[in-house]
Amino acid sequence: MSQQSGKLGIREYVSIVILMVGTKPTGDLPTALYSMVQSAGWMIPLISAGIFFIPLFLLVKTMMLYQNQNLFSIIQKLFGKYIGSIVCFIIFIISSSIISIDTRTYTNIIRTFYFTTTPNLIIYSILMLVCAYGAKKGIQHIGSAAYLVVYYAVLSLIIALILSFQDSNIQGIFPFWGPGKLEILKGSSKSLYIFLDFFLFAMLIPNFQSTKDFLKGTWVAYICVCIQISAVVLVFISLFDTSLGGIAYPFHSEIRYISLGSYLPNVEIFFFVIWIMGAFIRFTAFLYINVQMFCHIFKIKDYEYLIPAIATLYLLIGSIPETPFDVGLVIKPIITNVVGPSFALISIILWLTAWLKGEFKHANNKEMV
């Protein structure tokens, strides 16, 4: 009996992506977008997606050349052993810092909104504990869990948005071009980091049932996600209008505000549960990818034993900043501004190298033969 072990199907992949990328606007993303371009914030995800499409397309095309090889082995193959390893290491460092910051941000959200007197460390370690356990189970099982959760996550997000709709005003998205078209374009290029996860998903290619699933799943998820992010930001803009700039975590302010009639006035826990479930999946998958990177760089076979150690490491790194403000206002912008463009650049250079080396021709020749 073949166990289909460790292989990721397209459904599972798409659900992981939706939970990883699509839940981003439930954090501090809308606020960041709003403070960048105000009323045109909802356009940024769409335009960024458009800009990021080119590097992603090239990346996927390059990846398709080599069946069943992950991103790092291709980088090492194309850039040579030394430069390749350095690039891989840089990517690993960047994505490590992102996971540390993001988990810390989520811990802050949980603490500020729901558990005010619980020590940060407790909340944080439980988060990492569950993620480490999940990551240990392997990507197929993360995918299965994601698939079981994703419908409820999307449904609850939609319900939350619909409930807030009666208090919002669609006119909030005007003036249409926000601070000006140029600003939007600038903002979009700064916001490429929204989609950086797609770049990292190329690490998972050997785990797919077929590389075609990756290709198809990536584009399906890409479209879903950019619509989802844009829609969520749109609703937040029309609900909060100008006060969005001052609300750190609009999703949580929103679910605290909405109610299901006067008999059930406060329903935030219902949304919180599903939100946190999505967050667990998100960081589990992220942790798994990071551990895969680490294993690839240092040529370690048994990744399972590494996971607790790396999770603890992230926990410690994430605990360094003292206040939520340090995380959200000082460190995060630095990383996010660098990450998007640099990853896009790496993808393009990868493709260029492959093209110059004539790999595409080889592939064609192979097909001909």
Binding site: Q38, S39, T112, F113, F115, T116, T117, T118, P119, I122, Q166, D167, S168, N169, Q171, G172, F174, P175, F176, W177, G178, P179, G180, K181, F240, D241, T242, S243, G245, G246, S253, R256, Y257, S259, S262, P265, N266
Partner: protein, 410 residues
């Protein structure tokens, strides 16, 4: 296997530890005292406020059978404090349980405190508190909030949370008070282009209230006698940039509510002068608003022009001059008259808002936004200034859905 036994032991140990730890945020719900209403007044001491807390007694009215309790349904305390967050601690000198704002329904501010500049600084604390929700209501009382809570003695809803829930809910449904949640207060404040309406309430009835049209009252002016509670909710207090600047009567509030698409009014009962009796008599009508207004603007030139079309459905409830509504002609007269009446009411309102209040009491400005491509252009237009000399025309799109139960002339 010994390893598994070890795991089991560890598990049970963990379970017991979980049970026994202080568990940070864990609190039994009966250990808390729930604040339903919060009153804010100016204090004689510099930089301080008087905080009044209306606490509900959970034991009253919740026991089915079982004898019930002889305790009072509520407790009120007032004291000087720097803000109402730290006041939770101070209140524990008087109240035996931990003060919680989880059930806070309404914040009542006295008129003179609302008119102060530092009011906005005080009220902004609600954004910082974890327990206060932005769907709590903001109300302005004519008298001191301290006195207001003390005088408020509902006869039927002795449990305070129920009283305020019903009072506010039905007031908003009728359109006599605005839907003044804290959320709306802060969005209006941040936006800065429109005025915010807070509900007006009072527990003191004025000395000689004069009888006016059915809804042209302010809180404390409705002359009602009998065995009742003196508290009234009617009309609105107008806030501009977080400071109270004036008041609107019940009728004006209702007009604003009809104009404002972001509030959810259901159907309101109003009196309209009867066209068939030289406007001496008035007939009752139910106004239903099911569609959004259509707002068109022409913002070029010195005098911006704003056209608002209000679609309303009207149900005629009474027929004081005994006219036969089955005749097409009468229907036409009626329709025209209602349109005229609505136009007049709205014109009065806009006149008042342009001259007296110097701002529009509902988010009209956001309709203007779509006429501008970018934010700098919009800022240059400066709504707050332009609005004052704007030419506003309100039309109504009336559909009379029903002429009452009887159609024939008696």
């Amino acid at each position: 296997m010994p390893t598994t036994r070890k795991w089991y032991k560890a598990f049970w140990l963990l379970a017991i530890v979980c049970l026994l730890t202080g568990c940070w945020d864990r609190e039994e719900l009966e250990d808390k005292a729930y604040v339903i209403g919060l009153g804010l007044d100016r204090s004689q001491h510099e930089g301080k406020i008087i905080v009044t807390m209306l606490l509900a007694n959970p034991e009253v009215g919740s026991m089915q059978g079982g004898g019930g309790s002889t305790e009072k349904p509520r407790e009120i305390i007032s004291f000087n404090a720097n803000d109402f967050i730290a006041a939770k601690g101070t209140a524990n000198a008087i109240i035996s349980r931990k003060i919680s704002y989880d059930l806070l329904k309404i914040i009542v501010v006295s008129e003179d405190f609302a008119k102060e500049k530092d009011f906005i600084a005080t009220i902004s604390d609600v954004l910082k508190d974890k327990e206060i929700r932005l769907n709590s209501y903001l109300a302005v009382s004519k008298e001191k909030a301290k006195a207001y809570f003390k005088k408020n003695h509902p006869k039927m809803e002795t449990r305070p949370h129920k009283y305020f829930q019903y009072m506010v809910q039905h007031g908003v449904d009728n359109g006599l008070i605005p839907d003044s949640t804290l959320f709306r207060f802060f969005t209006a404040y941040e936006r800065g282009t429109d005025l915010f309406l807070a509900m007006n309430t009072s527990a003191e009835v004025g000395k000689n209230p004069n009888v006016k049209g059915e809804d042209e009252y302010l809180a404390g002016q409705v002359a009602a006698t009998g065995e009742l509670d003196d508290t009234q909710f009617i009309g609105a207090a107008v806030f501009k940039k977080g400071v109270m600047i004036g008041k609107l009567t019940g009728q004006e509030t209702r007009t604003v509510n009809i104009l404002d698409d972001t509030t959810n009014i259901k159907d309101v009962l109003i009196d309209i002068p009867d066209p068939f009796s030289d406007e001496k008599k008035q007939f009752a009508a139910r106004i239903m608003k099911t569609e959004d207004n259509k707002v068109k603007m022409n913002l070029k030139g010195l005098k911006p022009k704003i056209f608002i079309t209000v679609p309303v459905k009207i149900e005629i409830m009474s027929n004081p001059s005994m006219v036969d509504y089955t005749k097409k002609k009468n229907q036409q007269i009626l329709k025209k008259h209602i349109a005229k009446h609505i136009k007049k009411v709205n014109d009065d309102l806009f006149k008042k808002s342009q001259t007296q209040l110097k701002g529009v009491p509902f988010p009209l400005a956001i309709y203007a936004r779509k006429y501008f491509g970018t934010i700098p252009e919009y800022k240059k237009f400066d709504w707050n200034k332009s609005f004052l000399n704007a030419d506003i025309k309100v039309n109504s799109d009336i559909e009379i859905v029903d002429f009452g139960k009887t159609t024939k002339k008696h």
